[in-house]
């Protein structure tokens, strides 16, 4: 007798109906009684101090309820340290909270919060504030700060050392037959989910409720509680629908606490929604960066040395750089390695996670250089990578918990038609377009949480189940996937299972960041639902009235809402029969999961291979991507449909990174030049080619109970390099900057 498992099925999203009817309510959709509207007013200058705030005109505008500035806002109780929200602790995006004094550190830094009875009135009053500044010189670009760069002890909130070496890189370079030294530059990027960050705050006595657009309700709860000096139990955070994040809602910025303070001040619920313009100055960004790679290889293309340095601006408060050197230091066998981060103190906010933070940029540099190496040595780019394949994590020597990378190369190449590629640049044409094929390796670490992840499962006597965990679903499909996990653990049809999340009153889950969501939440949910199943079986085998009385619990299996003997399925009963007979309206169990200690003995990485075809108009300098193929080995796939969607989204993010997405500082003014979706270009429908995805399931019993390695970010890693390499193949031009735009190809 075979049973189709719910896990892996391409089940439609359980929240689909709400999303297509307008019935899904996001944080700025909450309409609370007598709600007021708050707007942020940002600093016009990048550096200096506020010398005065004239609020007279704003106060006289109709409907204004409060104007909060550093002159009247209470001081925060404490500034928590910057720790990635996956750690499960308070997680401020930067260790600076605005409106505490008159100092301005970056343009756009909030200098006032204006609250009024309607949005229009709040916005207008905000524009009427007259803030005077004494401006001081600013540094906002690499070029301005290059001379003052420093090497930090650690970056990424202390999680990544500023320097990583193995072997002797100079000796490795000396013994190389081929050396390549190349510098890559990257424009800054902004996440720009289509939902701007928003918080709706309401006080009931000393109890605060926040509807917040966040990747982790607990992260918002703990951060706001710490800033306001409240016990976490007095802060409830709800986040049922989040309109995309891509990292900008992974850390907790100032606006949720400011919304709470504003609501307390006016004695009414307050909504604070960032404007699109403020999304460029309020929620972090991927920093401008420069990466230099020096690579040595023997004649066969085997790496003998890799030196990878990065230089980037950070804020005045935090040593932050996205860890661009991480995966690039691990993906190939290379004994001699040196990676060094250097930072520049600049008048920007602290940069933050942005999809594939570090991997997307670092692997662009490495994979472009590898393509260069393949070209110089006349080795096929796929073959070159196979020659440098590593069975172990080169940083530790530990074996991979699972890999699948070789299969990714092979199946990706097959599906793409890589063998049709003539290695000679400019050898493929279609009319007046030059056609190019390019590929790159993808890799993304498997991160685990630092503390137990919890879930609760409840079965009702009618045979339906609810499983709860406090995670929001910001588009990953977690709510859908967890019903599938529950269904299999309890032996129920998926339609009879429901997932509830997005509420801090539910069992605590860390913020779903770093592609860890599916793995850690499924682990908690699977544990809870399995505990519930075991509990039910235990009750049945001890219930004299049960057909299963006296059976070995290990011999009982569950299917279609029934417990039965594995070897004699006709012997058994439904959950409902057991519960009704025992006057039980429901049965509940909790589950808790932490990464297994043995995981420290393995390297854990999700691997993939990217392939892209571009068409370049050599006269007009226009490059367009014609198709993309990605093969990924993300461990176990929980839902083929939602997993493909996430990988596809990541790959198309790679397209945006390659050809479109850029923000620059105007160094004279110390302000970002792009402040709208008309200036900061993200791909539109016409840019997006068809994307093919091959899922290669690899068994992994190390990472978590279900062997899930995550699909949220690996789709972007290597995609930009595959496109740039395809542009090289098409045109013979190696462009070492992102994005690659028309002026680079004219």
């Amino acid at each position: 007798m075979t049973t189709t498992l719910a896990i892996g099925q391409p089940t439609n999203r359980v929240d689909g109906r709400h999303k297509v009817t307008g019935g899904a309510h996001y944080s700025a959709d909450m309409l609370l009684g007598s709600m007021a509207y708050a707007v942020l007013v940002g600093a016009r200058v990048p550096s200096g101090r506020i010398t005065g705030i004239d609020t007279d005109e704003a106060r006289q505008a109709g409907g204004v309820l409060a104007i909060l500035t550093h002159e009247n806002l209470p001081r925060i109780a404490a500034q928590p340290p910057l720790i990635p929200s996956l750690a499960g602790m308070p997680a401020p995006g930067q260790t600076f909270f605005p409106l505490q004094d008159e100092v301005v550190h970056y343009a756009g830094q909030p200098v006032a919060v204006v609250v009024a009875d309607t949005l229009e009135r709040a916005q207008h009053a905000g524009a009427l504030l007259r803030v005077s500044y004494e401006e001081t010189p600013s540094v906002t670009t690499i070029d301005q700060g290059r001379e003052e760069a420093y090497e930090p002890e650690a970056i990424f909130a202390g999680f990544v050392p500023g320097r990583n070496t193995r072997g002797d890189v100079d000796a490795g370079l000396a013994q190389a037959d081929v050396r390549i030294d190349a510098t890559y530059t990257f424009a800054a990027n902004n996440h720009n989910p289509i939902e701007p960050s928003a918080t709706t705050a309401a006080w009931d006595g000393d109890q605060l409720t926040l509807h917040d657009a966040t990747q982790g309700v607990a992260a918002t709860q703990l951060t706001v509680a710490a800033l306001l000096g409240l016990t976490p139990s007095k802060v409830r955070v709800l986040s049922h629908y989040v309109g995309g994040s891509f990292g900008c809602k992974a850390m907790i910025w100032a606006h949720p606490a400011l919304a709470a303070l504003a609501a307390r001040r006016v004695g009414r619920p307050v909504r604070l929604a960032l404007t699109r313009e403020q999304m460029f100055t309020s929620v972090g960004h991927r920093e401008e960066q420069e990466q230099r790679i020096t690579l040595g290889a023997d004649k066969e293309g085997r790496l003998t040395a890799l030196r990878h340095h990065k230089l980037s601006p950070t804020s005045h408060f935090d040593d932050w750089a996205e860890p661009s050197l991480g995966v690039a230091s691990q993906i190939y066998a290379c004994k001699n390695y040196e990676g060094i981060y250097r930072l520049i103190r600049a008048n920007t906010m602290t940069p933050t996670f942005m999809r594939a933070p570090g991997e997307a940029s670092g692997m662009f540099a490495l994979e472009s250089t590898m393509d260069d190496l393949a070209h110089q040595l006349g080795i096929d780019p796929v073959e070159l990578r196979l020659r440098n394949y590593s069975d172990t994590d080169p940083n530790t020597g530990n074996p991979w918990s699972s890999s699948g990378l070789r299969e990714c190369y092979q199946r990706g190449a097959e599906r793409f038609g890589w063998q049709r590629r003539n290695p000679e640049p400019r050898s493929h044409r279609d009319g007046n377009r030059l056609i190019g094929y390019g590929m790159a390796t993808a890799g993304y670490p498997v991160y685990g949480p630092n503390n137990p992840q919890r879930a609760r499962a409840r079965l009702y006597a009618d045979g339906t189940a609810v499983v709860q965990a406090a995670t929001p679903d910001f588009g990953t499909g977690v709510a859908t996937v967890m019903t599938q996990v529950t269904a299999d653990a309890l032996g129920l049809p998926v339609e009879r299972c429901r997932f509830e999340g997005g509420d801090t009153t539910l069992p605590t889950i860390a913020a779903a960041v770093g592609s860890s969501g599916a793995g850690m939440i499924s682990a908690a949910v699977h544990t809870a639902a399995s505990n519930l199943r075991d509990q039910l079986i235990a009750q049945a085998v001890t219930d004299t009235q049960s057909p299963l009385h006296g059976a070995d619990p290990g011999a009982v299996t569950v299917r279609d809402g029934r417990m039965m003997l594995r070897d004699a399925p006709e012997t058994g009963e439904s959950y409902g029969d057991l519960l009704h007979r025992n006057f039980l309206p429901d049965v509940e169990a909790a589950g808790s999961w932490s990464p297994s200690p043995q995981s420290t003995r393995y390297g854990m990485m999700t691997f993939g291979a990217q392939f892209a075809e571009v068409a370049v108009d050599p006269d007009l300098g226009v490059a367009r991507v014609r198709r993309m193929v990605g093969a990924f080995a993300p461990g176990r796939v929980l839902n083929a449909k939602t997993a493909r969607s996430q990988l596809m989204g990541g790959m198309l993010w790679g397209l945006g990174q390659a050809l479109l997405e850029a923000n620059f500082m105007d160094p004279r003014r110390g302000r970002w030049v792009a402040s709208s979706l008309g200036d900061y270009l993200v791909p539109v429908n016409a840019d997006a080619p068809e994307v093919e995805i091959d899922l290669i399931e690899v068994a992994d019993d190390v990472v978590n109970p279900l062997g899930v390695k995550g699909v949220g970010e690996v789709g972007q890693v290597g995609a930009a390099a595959a496109i740039a390499n395809a542009i090289h193949h098409a045109t013979g031009r190696r462009i070492r900057k992102l994005p690659i735009t028309i002026e680079d190809l004219l």
Partner: protein
């Protein structure tokens, strides 16, 4: 169209009756039902729908006409509610995503979006769907190239674009 920005309070010509700037009573017909409420003339159609009528299907993604999340129909044509003043819609018929399904029966495009997984976070989805249905009515879905171009006014940051095209193809092929 521009006028010099003179922030004075010059007397208005008496030729046309003038409403506002204080709140005025307006009546909007949305999804076939009339709604009467008081708003300032500067209130956008988007904010009127969301904040006054509690119809939050149309989303605010940019408030600048650059993303398409607020797409609704006015007199049957897809437009951006963020750059439309609510008061200017008096006497016109406004249709939002809330008006698309027939009771519990989803519009074919809504079902196709679910089936094709044409969204992830869902925030741009109401706008995508209002555009997609309009696209078929306009006759601009003959092939993928046309769909791509004519759906480019709706940004999906999750980049579900290939699946959005698949959903549109499904409905097109079923109805033609």
């Amino acid at each position: 169209m521009s006028a010099p920005h003179v922030p004075s309070r010059a007397p208005a010509a008496a030729v046309l009756p003038e409403r506002g700037p204080d709140p005025v009573t307006v009546t909007l017909s949305v999804n076939g039902a009339d709604h009467t409420f008081d708003i300032e003339p500067r209130v956008s159609l988007l904010d009127a729908l969301r904040e006054r009528l509690a119809m939050t299907g149309a989303k605010k993604g940019c408030d600048q006409g650059t993303c398409g999340a607020c797409t609704v129909w006015v007199d049957g044509r897809r437009v951006l509610a963020c750059l439309t003043l609510a008061i200017a819609c008096e006497g016109r018929e406004v249709t939002t995503v809330e008006g698309l399904a027939e009771g519990d029966e989803l519009h074919a495009m809504q079902s196709a979006f679910i089936e094709q997984d044409a969204f992830q976070c869902g925030y741009c989805t109401p706008g995508q769907i209002m555009s997609a249905v309009a696209l078929l009515n306009e006759g601009h879905a003959a092939d993928d190239a046309e769909i791509r171009e004519w759906m480019s006014g709706n940004i999906c940051r999750c980049a579900a674009y290939p699946h959005i095209r698949a959903a549109i193809r499904t409905v097109r092929d079923r109805t033609t």
